[in-house]
């Protein structure tokens, strides 16, 4: 009897500790979520709601008629149609070009595959402004290819004239999204069970029939997912179109910027933002649906399976053409950028770099342009802290939340992903420049915007890491006498340190390259690097152009080293 008694009380105590952990934690858990939610409320929902209100009531009075007029204007329709059309075209071309590459990556081993795979992440993380500058450096009227052709063929004008045409930014979109499609589709393709293809063959299907009836239908989710993602990116494309398209072309994003910043037509900008928000939500919802149903993931796209060696003439020539295409597409613009930053009208020069350090009276800046580098790094570090702290809190909550509430809050946290940076920036200037929350002269606005943009990415990095920690470890720590806070500090935090670092670097890189929101909220005296590059590119003259190239090269190196570090961290696993 006595024995059972002690046993009972021990069980009781364990039960008590576990209950204590649970109850105590559930009340604290809300505290964890409240900070991210407060941040989202102030810097995401508030500006967005203001945009909606301004669309319906431009002067503070309920005037839906104004909105109707704006929406039914020719200009509005033209912008909308163009945005759709260019996004669809970009998506189509990217798919056509990237699918053969995905096949090769999924099925074959070849020398240099790992290096190429690493190289392919470069465009994905490259700031849009840098990409635009790189394409100008390669194929613009003052670009390398044109100047070579002019010297070689003794021409008086540039033979390739795609400046300010659709072709120019379509090329940039393909450059941007090629590796994205390749990664998603190749990852999914390589994980399809090869037995399934062989089973079809054994049942009498020829290789072509097998592809048509088995492989293609099974690939559809991955292709659809990639296509929707590319469409979203091209639909919200801003920097590339602003810089490469010129005044003749305007997507919704570009038009919001022009209406707000150049014409001060805030009601029109608000009406455009409204439609942009709606379409984006719809597309993101579509993407999430495809992804969740078929386990296609944009965040984990490792290429698995057992790739074969390349055999035969057909396979070899397929491989070679694709590799040549990839290397040209990836390397040509970037090397052109690098070269062009050192080559002036009279050959090799360091003038572009050195002039970044001086403050010209005639220049668009009042301070040496190199200050932008320091600004960007400062903003980047602040944004990183914001995003990581919010992300850590939100992830800790989501990892321990049970039942139906977790997916709901997860979706809420992901919402900023579905909102274009330009709409966000526009929302900031119409809300955060005026009381009650006047941050007009505050340096905080840029890091806040960047932190918000990076926050969902950071959650996606950290959350899986925390979820992987077995609950039994926490329970063991509790029974060894740790309080819930100690458990979090001594179990969760150290075990999730790698994902947290990955998230931090991600946040920093996002901030370094962010242009859409920055173009609204940066102060003239404290520009970021992308904003500076854009200003250089919009000014005439060789020095401005060269400085844009030099600054882009610096930005490219900063982001590249960030991702090199990221690779180091994830490789050490």
């Amino acid at each position: 009897m006595k024995k059972t008694g002690t046993n009972g009380s021990r069980n009781g105590r364990i039960q008590f500790s576990v209950n204590f952990l649970k109850t105590n934690f559930s009340s604290n858990r809300w505290l964890l979520l409240s900070l991210p939610l407060l941040f989202l409320a102030l810097f995401y929902f508030y500006p967005l709601i203001k945009i909606v209100i301004m669309s319906f009531a431009p002067e503070g009075v309920w005037e839906p008629e104004r909105l109707r007029q704006l929406i039914s204007s020719d200009n509005y329709f033209r912008v909308l149609r163009f945005t759709f059309w260019q996004a669809a075209l970009s998506t189509l071309f990217t798919l056509i070009l990237a699918l053969p590459g995905a096949y090769i990556f999924a099925h074959f081993n070849f020398p240099g595959k790992n290096m190429l795979q690493a190289l392919m992440t470069v465009p994905f993380v490259l700031p849009t402004v840098v990409t635009a500058a790189a394409f100008r450096a390669l194929l613009g009227s003052g670009g390398l290819v044109n100047s070579w052709l002019m010297t070689a063929l003794d021409l008086s004008g540039p033979p390739i004239r795609i400046d300010q045409t659709v072709t120019f930014f379509l090329l940039a979109h393909i450059f941007y999204n090629y590796s994205l499609v390749l990664r998603i589709v190749a990852g999914y393709w390589s994980n399809l069970d090869p037995d399934i293809r062989e089973a079809a063959g054994m049942l009498g299907a020829s290789p072509w029939q097998t592809f048509k009836k088995i492989t293609l239908p099974l690939l559809i989710p991955a292709i659809a997912s990639a296509a929707v993602l590319v469409f979203i990116f091209c639909f919200t494309s801003f920097g590339v179109i602003l810089i490469l398209g010129g005044p003749g072309y305007a997507t919704i994003e570009v038009e919001i910027y022009r209406q707000a910043v150049q014409f001060f037509n805030l009601p029109m900008a608000a009406a455009l933002s409204l439609i942009q928000i709606l379409i984006n939500f719809l597309l993101m919802w579509l993407h999430a649906r495809i992804g969740s149903k078929n386990r296609v993931s944009f965040f984990s796209t490792a290429i698995g399976g057992t790739p074969k060696k390349i055999k035969g003439f057909l396979q070899k020539s397929l491989l070679l053409t694709n590799l040549l295409f990839m290397v040209t597409l990836l390397l040509a613009p970037l090397s052109a950028l690098l070269l062009r930053s050192f080559i002036g009208e009279h050959g090799f020069t360091l003038a572009y770099y050195s002039s970044l350090f001086t403050s010209h009276t005639r220049s668009v800046f009042f301070v040496p342009p190199i200050n932008a580098v320091l600004n960007s790094i400062g903003f980047g570090l602040t944004a990183m802290c914001i995003a990581v702290i919010l992300g850590l809190f939100a992830s800790s909550y989501l990892a321990s939340a049970k039942g139906r509430s977790a997916p709901f809050w997860d979706a809420v946290i992901m919402l900023p992903l579905a909102t274009s940076a330009v709409t966000l920036g526009f929302g900031y200037i119409i809300t955060l420049n005026t009381p009650p929350l006047n941050l007009r002269d505050s340096l905080a606005l840029v890091p806040i915007a960047h932190g918000l943009v990076a926050f969902p990415f950071v959650v996606r990095c950290i959350l899986p890491g925390i979820r992987q920690i077995p609950q039994s470890l926490r329970e063991a720590a509790t029974l060894l006498g740790s309080s819930p806070l100690q458990v979090w500090r001594r179990v969760d935090l150290p075990l999730a340190s790698r994902p947290i670092m990955v998230g931090a670097i991600f946040a920093f890189s996002i901030s370094m390259g962010e242009f859409g929101a920055s173009s609204f909220v940066t102060r003239p005296h404290t520009p970021t690097m992308p904003v500076t590059i854009f200003r250089f590119l919009s000014q005439p003259g060789d020095l401005n152009y060269g400085q844009a190239m030099a600054m882009s090269t610096i930005l490219m190196l900063v982001t590249a080293s960030g991702f090199w570090l990221l690779g180091k961290i994830t490789d050490n696993r």
């Binding site: 037995d195 062989e198 079809a200 063959g201 049942l203």
Partner: protein, 349 residues
């Protein structure tokens, strides 16, 4: 009538030999089990016959036709994969009818054939289920129905019961045999489980490290394993090494015994004693076709119908299955055994 002829078939991967000069033939309607430990080359052999891999050398003919240049989708062979490889985007009906579709058979005929096949495998009424809704055993049946529906000339089965639990395996292996026999299908069945092989097969081929060690009926393989490799793979533990003295005295760790000298290499003989061949004697004389051994019980394990006894004879441990009546002596007690000479087999090394 011999239908499948395999001669000197070899294969390798990155310089490592996988199959070494495999030669055998199979009659129409026979079921052959390829039995061997994992890595023995069973699946490679199956995939070579299917045309999914390329051989290094050798000849494979099927019905007097050399099939080595025919691509796998034109061979009209069926294959059942280890993880079934059912098409996840098609339902049960569409999976089973796929092979018929490839033969361009009309919808009506396909519907009839699919219904017939589903009934044969005991899945009547499952036609419109999706693959996700099926249990492991049901998937296995769908895979069987799918591979049988186009009436293949040869059915290849790659560990089709591998991922199922023991009870289901025992039941399904018997069922598969009766289905294959009823449809008179010639089949090759890969497994690493000997009880499965024995219950399914007409012929068993033992593969070990890419070599065909023995090819015979299940009974013959069990009664007379060809060599020490086969015997130890089949789980026989009582393999005794020794040499012959004066013609018929076998000298080994269990002590000298007089035996007819049927061992080839007199200096290096291997004698197998099957575990069920012993009986305990308590003072009585042994029979004419028996030999006597004496030892000490080291371990005694109750197994239901039998006791498994580990007995130390001379300097070697021997294992015997003995009936529960009369109860064998306990651990530490001496024991006298009589062994039937028919259960003594000379193995080639």
């Amino acid at each position: 009538m011999t239908i499948l002829n395999v001669k000197n078939l070899s294969s390798s991967y990155e310089g490592q030999p996988l199959l070494k000069e495999i030669t055998f033939s199979l009659k129409k309607g026979e079921i052959l089990c390829l039995l061997g430990p994992s890595g023995a080359g069973k699946t490679t052999l199956l995939r070579l016959l299917a045309g999914l891999e390329k051989e290094d050398g050798g000849i494979v003919t099927f019905g007097n036709l050399n099939i080595q240049t025919i691509p796998s989708h034109k061979r009209n062979f069926g294959m059942m994969f280890q993880e079934y490889a059912l098409f996840p985007h098609k339902n049960v009906f569409e999976n089973v009818s796929f092979g018929l579709e490839m033969k361009k058979s009309p919808l009506k005929a396909r519907q009839e054939k699919v219904a017939e096949m589903l009934e044969t495998v005991g899945l009547k009424g499952f036609a419109h289920r999706t693959i996700d809704e099926l249990s492991g055993g049901e998937r296995q049946r769908v895979a069987l129905a799918r591979s049988l529906a186009p009436e293949p000339q040869l059915l290849l089965l790659d560990e089709p019961l591998g991922s199922l639990d023991r009870t289901l395996r025992d039941r399904l292996s018997v069922e598969i045999r009766s289905i294959l026999k009823a449809l008179e299908v010639t089949a090759l069945f890969v497994t690493h489980d000997q009880s499965e092989a024995f219950s399914v097969a007409d012929k068993v081929a033992i593969l070990y490290e890419g070599k065909l060690e023995q090819f015979d009926s299940p009974e013959n393989i069990y009664r007379t394993p060809a060599n020490t490799t086969v015997a130890s793979f089949l789980g026989f533990k009582n393999i005794i090494c020794g040499k012959m003295d004066n013609g018929d005295l076998f000298c080994s760790a269990i002590g000298p015994i007089y035996l007819p000298a049927e061992c080839n290499d007199k200096q290096n003989c291997h004698l197998l004693i099957r575990p069920e061949a012993a009986r305990i004697i308590r003072g009585e004389e042994i029979k004419e076709d028996e030999i006597a051994l004496e030892g000490k019980v080291v371990k005694k394990q109750f197994q239901g119908a039998t006791y498994k006894l580990q007995i130390e004879v001379g300097e070697q441990m021997l294992f015997f299955d003995l009936p529960i009546d009369p109860t064998p002596p306990g651990i530490g007690y001496p024991v006298d055994l009589a062994i039937r000479t028919s259960a003594l087999i000379w193995l080639a090394s």
